[in-house]
Symmetry: C2
Subunit: 401 residues, 2 copies
């Protein structure tokens, strides 16, 4: 067929190719077809048959591979010197360094990351472990992280580590192995065994969107954020306050009890004994919140206000309430945490947290770890500020006129 290809090497050695070898390179295996076509294009020649490629789908290799040697030659120095010059090593004459830089720029030279890494350099890659990329919170975190990593010329490799089996699989196979310089763990707790496994990667680890002991981390103070929310409801006069808690079977939250304990503490401080009956646990989603809210409505004495662990859950609760014919906030107040963009649209009162900023800071921590000389004695655990955003889903109890 027109896709048959023959190695130059084989060709250049005359027709001494054995039929076996020819068969092998002529019939691309499932794993080699593409590589023949693209990656070894510089060694390969396409032997077009009668049905020549109509689409102009000839090998795409358009840029010639510029190597360090090319740069060195152009600058009139050796490859060793060129490498030193580009790598900002000392003991290179200023003039030489300049010449090499110019040559590199002129040739549009980009070091091969593979060769560089193989010879002892860094990979320039950072792994990001994320439970659920499509949730706004994680998307936002990633966005902040990406911006920072890009500025540092690091690439972001995404690994989804969602359900328990994903998680097991990841830590068992450790696909990030030998592939990255650092790992960022987004918003989930890492247990002892996993910690050990991660440590065996021999890379820097940073946590974002929550705290992980023993790693540098950025996050918010969950307890404080929770207090802000519950205190707001208490301040409005509510005493029977329900809680829609994010389920945490997969330890998605490093501080699963922060928000929950805040609810208890706030109620106690207000002189109201927390009633565990008012806690409904469900997945961190709109559906979860809707379902949990329904459970609370089934109580003989439903709450007059609910505190949801996140905005999605809060919005789910609002839907359940509306469907039940209840008015928000007149009949029941709802507050969340996050300040999801849709919270503004749906007029949801919430406690805002700077999510993208958390990603950004995590990126900085990574860069520090990679570029910095000495790691800090005690891993920094940054807490970014949160603030209450008053909107239309909270009001004093019995506010209906």
């Amino acid at each position: 067929m027109c896709v048959s290809q023959v190695k130059c090497a084989a060709r250049s050695h005359g027709d001494s190719v054995t039929s076996g070898a020819t068969r092998w390179s002529g019939r691309p295996s499932p794993a080699s077809g593409f590589w023949n076509r693209f990656h070894t294009a510089c060694h390969a020649r396409v032997v077009t048959g009668d049905t020549a490629e109509p689409q102009g789908r000839v090998p795409l290799r358009a840029v010639a591979r510029v190597t360090l040697d090319d740069v060195a030659r152009r600058a009139g120095v050796s490859a060793a010197t060129a490498s030193r010059a580009l790598g900002d090593h000392p003991h290179v004459a200023e003039a030489t360094r300049h010449r090499v830089r110019e040559a590199a720029a002129a040739l549009d030279y980009v070091a091969s990351p593979e060769a560089s890494r193989l010879a002892g350099g860094p990979t320039g890659r950072v792994a990001v472990l994320v439970p659920h990329p499509s949730r706004w919170f994680f998307g936002e975190l990633i966005e902040g992280l990406e911006a920072e990593l890009r500025a540092a010329e690091l690439d972001l490799v995404l690994f989804r580590v969602g359900g328990p089996e994903d998680r097991r699989d990841f830590f068992a196979r450790l696909p990030a192995r030998r592939k990255v310089d650092a790992v960022v763990v987004l918003a989930f707790a890492v247990d002892e065994a996993e910690h050990a496994r991660l440590a065996s990667l021999g890379v820097a680890v940073v946590a974002a969107g929550g705290r992980v002991a023993s790693y540098p981390s950025v996050g918010i103070d969950d307890h404080r954020a929770g207090r802000r929310a519950v205190d707001h409801l208490l301040h409005l006069g509510h005493r029977r306050i329900g809680m829609l808690a994010g389920g945490d079977e997969q330890r998605l939250s490093p501080d699963p009890d922060g928000r929950s304990s805040a609810w208890r503490a706030a109620l106690r401080d207000a002189g109201a004994e927390p009633d565990e009956e008012l806690v409904a646990t469900a997945p961190w989603s709109g559906e979860g919140g809707a379902e949990a809210m329904a459970r609370l409505l089934g109580l003989s004495t439903p709450p007059t206000a609910v505190f949801a662990h996140c905005d999605e859950m809060a919005l789910g609760a609002v839907r359940t309430l509306r469907r039940a014919g209840l008015r928000v906030p007149e009949d029941l107040s709802v507050i969340g945490i996050d300040d999801h963009p849709l919270a503004a649209l749906t007029d949801l009162t919430t406690v805002a947290q700077p999510v993208r900023e958390q990603g950004r800071r995590a990126g900085e921590l990574v860069v520090d770890a990679l570029r910095g000389s000495a790691p800090p004695r005690v891993p920094p655990a940054e807490m970014l500020p949160t603030h209450l955003v008053l909107r239309g889903t909270t009001a004093p109890p019995g506010a209906a006129r």
Copy 2:
């Protein structure tokens, strides 16, 4: 300080190290500190001073680097044979292959991607170009893609290509260069110059979330989806139908006119001349939709229904309407496209599209391109089905009792 390190090599050659060399390796440059600490740990020894690391932050390198040679030795074969065995090449005895596999498994061997790539193999990495990772649509696309790529043991490298300057920067610097086997472009159009640049990467290109001529792609039929939405409104009896169009300065949508042209065509087919006054263009966001809706409300004769290019815009519109004291759908109907999870929560009527599935299929196309032998003559352009989801934001005009 306690972080000073000396190369084993330098040490083993006795104390012939020059003071210059010592100075250089002893004082980690901004770019080398971390690498000394982690990556070249196997060549380095930590010379702890009096202030020994108290945190037990000794070099983390815990796993010994297992090389192909180790595997080969254990299996009692040469490295060449081991490589062939693991790479599924022919001409390897079944028994040998088996032995090598076992040895590799036992040693927990993972090929060094750098070395592999350098020697002509694939990188096992796929670049994903995404405009806006925190938007649900893209997150979902990424999630689908990731699942598929993971199954094929490919890593996903994320590049945010958002605003025009990002875009220019990306295509100018082409950071994916020499780093990936394929590129997936999410939901944005690629112009001629960019196409050429991408082609120069010498990798496979796939588009998802929209069509891009000359690349294999997956997406939905925007025109058809738009028709479904507008036809629904027409069917309910609306004739004065507004449109909240997603702004497309950055050519975020490969088929910018698909949804818009659907609106025109549907109206014409229904015997109503489309009134361009009823088109409000704004960013693809809740805020954008809210603002665009406000503009339409300012018309002397506002529409009785609006078709939004996406659910976020539709939700923004709903907020504007509520704030204006209008009831949805009694006073004005609203329909979107996407079936965003919050659409279900907010009872928004919409045209659902299988976003995650698009990501998944894009992943398959990538794998096909990489593993497949011959690229298809004409790049496949898959259209995934959409369907109308009836909820509570649409009703016949004047439905208020």
